[in-house]
Symmetry: C2
């Protein structure tokens, strides 16, 4: 498996387009469309919030009931959440506009929205946007990248990842794009992630791989602890790599599991690192936990701690807050036995051991904490399980962004 | 029952003192002591964090094993948490210093600390402080108020509350003080709360009343979602009101339950309103829930939502975030059926109904949200249960305070 440059247009047969439809932003692109030349099997995971946006409900039904999908239409600016029957109608109208423009049946068109909750979409602008995009679809890397940019809200960077691997001697490509910066605490966030592959695989296995993989990737990131109404991950596989279709859990299946994990992990980390107002990607890695579930709970508790996140922003080695967050996670452990380390590209230092502060240099700690990617390593000394979770620092800019997001 | 001005010295037979011991702050008081003339029965509730500060462990043992208590010594600046055996020894030395100064047995001296985790206390300064305070104990309201000021850390206001009520024709007084501003998400924060009463009541009932009441008061507030290693509530009852001792759940017991709830609710709200960097007390009241537990979970989910808290700071009627927080709380409900209102001393408006935004005036909403106490009222339309939770807005100042707390 090899990481490559690219996104949703990396795999064979996938094209993308994007446009400035004027939904909410004045001078930037705010709609994107992905189209597969051939029918693709599709898997999806969606928000666990009981308040589900209209496009989430639309996609959940399509993923469950339809055998394949051909297109995804996404907009930024308005979430189409808490919009009642009118909101549901807009999903259908969006799909119908794609049907008119490209001849793709409406029930093969997935939709996704991100932005403000409670406002209605300007349907005419969306329909006009679809017409424009239908005439500009392209399989180039640029086209994929532009699409990734178009779905951003408070994101500061577009987010793509792609890999190639081999199945049956055939080169298979898997690539994706995502957006997500605030209201990020996916349980299955407003994160949207779209991943495409030319692999041939059965729909059942595609859904199973995705369902399992999100638990270790998107569901292990948090920016603010708020689980969105719109979180959506869609995975489309159109089979155009030409491998013999994967229908059982064989070696080829395992190659795909590994590839999907690489792309999803890369995309998830990009979202965490680009959390609203963030200056650093903050990773917590828990090793030697007694169970996988405990490792995940502990890791997530630390990256979700507001006090720890503010300390990371301040480059302050306030390890007491980390220990505190581990302590209230709900997992039982002996605080006297565990060890804490800070780690970054500048080095690694032991900061806590035997129930008290280790003899570390504050200067060295500050240097490590000043890097753009900071890791807290927690050695539980209880067993063999591990997990990682990803968040970001809590900054003045986060407050500025969210104190008046709607205006 | 009547609310009165006062704190820990309001009840008969309780005196207090405070001093500038120089533990961490330069030019302010940072130690307080409360002493009961007579032996008092004592109840306590403590942090649920598995990482428990030394003074928490000390008090848990005393409350469980001793029949009575006479004194409480508290310091601000250093939490004496994650301090190993040395930290435990300091608790004992503190109690012994009180024994030397006042002749109160060390096992009747409760201790409490709040501040930075992981630093050792300057024991000599503490001992000197105790000597000074022992000679300055006084039952005046001023003395109680000075003590309330001495235990503050990032708090901006001292916090006291007191009530009087009658039992057997005798006037009973119940008063308390607390501190708490950051690392506040009590599950049974560093919140410290000390409540004293001259009521005569059995130790068993005292503990039971306290254990039940914290669930609806301190445990329903949150500033930042971080449950401290030091949270402590202590309730001392010295019997000096002269009522016949309460030993069963009779009418007198119920009067005390009501009085304790009034004092604890008042203290809890003061902590939430004075959350680090806060400009507003943010209350969420859930009515017509199907169960009490659901009402509490829903209310707490809203006051803990970073995005909602930032919107309150911005006086932005971003109700979508409130609905979102209800939706991810874990409680099942139909978003189309519930109603949301904003409320303050400036008025009350309906903002969400039938699955969509109500027809409200943004101007009026902004006015309501600009008050110092803002309430979101959630009508679940499912049953008869209710609950309230209290938090605060999320501000730039919160980040400033916590990005470099240790220096």
């Amino acid at each position: 498996m090899k990481m490559i440059v690219g996104g949703v247009t990396a795999a064979k047969g996938f094209t993308a387009a994007s446009t400035a439809a004027g939904i909410k932003y004045e001078s930037r692109k705010d709609m994107a469309m992905i189209v597969s030349e051939q029918e693709a099997v599709c898997a999806g995971t969606f928000t666990s919030n009981v308040v589900k946006a209209a496009p989430v409900k639309w996609d959940m039904r399509l993923v469950a009931e339809e055998t394949c999908a051909r297109a995804v239409v996404a907009n930024a600016g308005i979430a189409n959440a808490c919009t009642g029957d009118e909101g549901m109608e807009y999903c259908q109208k969006t799909a119908q506009a794609v049907e008119r423009a490209l001849g793709i049946p409406a029930n093969q068109v997935l939709v996704a929205s991100t932005g403000v909750i409670g406002m209605q979409l300007p349907m005419e602008k969306l329909e006009a946007g679809i017409s424009v995009m239908a005439s500009e679809l392209s399989g180039t890397a640029d086209s994929g990248q532009e699409a990734a940019r178009a779905i951003m809200t408070t994101d500061t960077k577009s987010k793509e990842a792609a890999v190639t691997f081999e199945v049956d001697g055939k080169a298979v490509t898997l690539g994706g794009m995502c957006k997500g910066s605030g209201m990020i605490h996916p349980n299955m966030c407003t994160m949207l992630s779209f991943v495409t592959t030319d692999l041939a695989i059965s729909k059942e296995l595609l859904q199973e791989v995705l369902r399992e993989d999100v638990k270790d990737t998107y569901n292990m990131i948090s920016v603010d602890g708020d689980t969105s109404t719109n979180d959506t991950v869609l995975l489309l596989a159109n089979g155009m790599a030409g491998n013999s279709k994967i229908t059982e859990k064989d070696d080829n299946y395992r190659k795909f599991v590994e590839a999907l994990n690489a792309v999803n992990t890369a995309l998830a980390k990009k979202m965490a690192g680009d959390g609203e107002g963030a200056t650093a990607l903050f990773e917590t890695e828990v090793i030697h936990a007694d169970t996988k579930e405990h490792a995940k709970t502990l890791a997530k508790s630390v990256i979700c701690s507001s006090l720890t996140k503010a300390a990371i922003y301040g480059h302050d080695a306030n390890w007491g807050r980390i220990l505190c967050a581990l302590g209230y996670s709900g997992v039982d452990f002996d605080p006297e036995k565990i060890e804490l380390f800070f780690e970054s590209k500048s080095g690694r230092i032991l900061i806590y051991k035997d129930g008290v502060a280790a003899d570390y240099s504050e200067e060295e700690a500050t240097k490590i904490l000043s890097d753009e990617e900071v890791t807290v390593l927690v050695d539980m000394k209880m067993g063999e399980e591990r997990a990682a979770a990803w968040g970001c620092d809590l900054t003045h800019e986060y407050v500025t962004i969210n104190a008046d997001y709607r205006s």
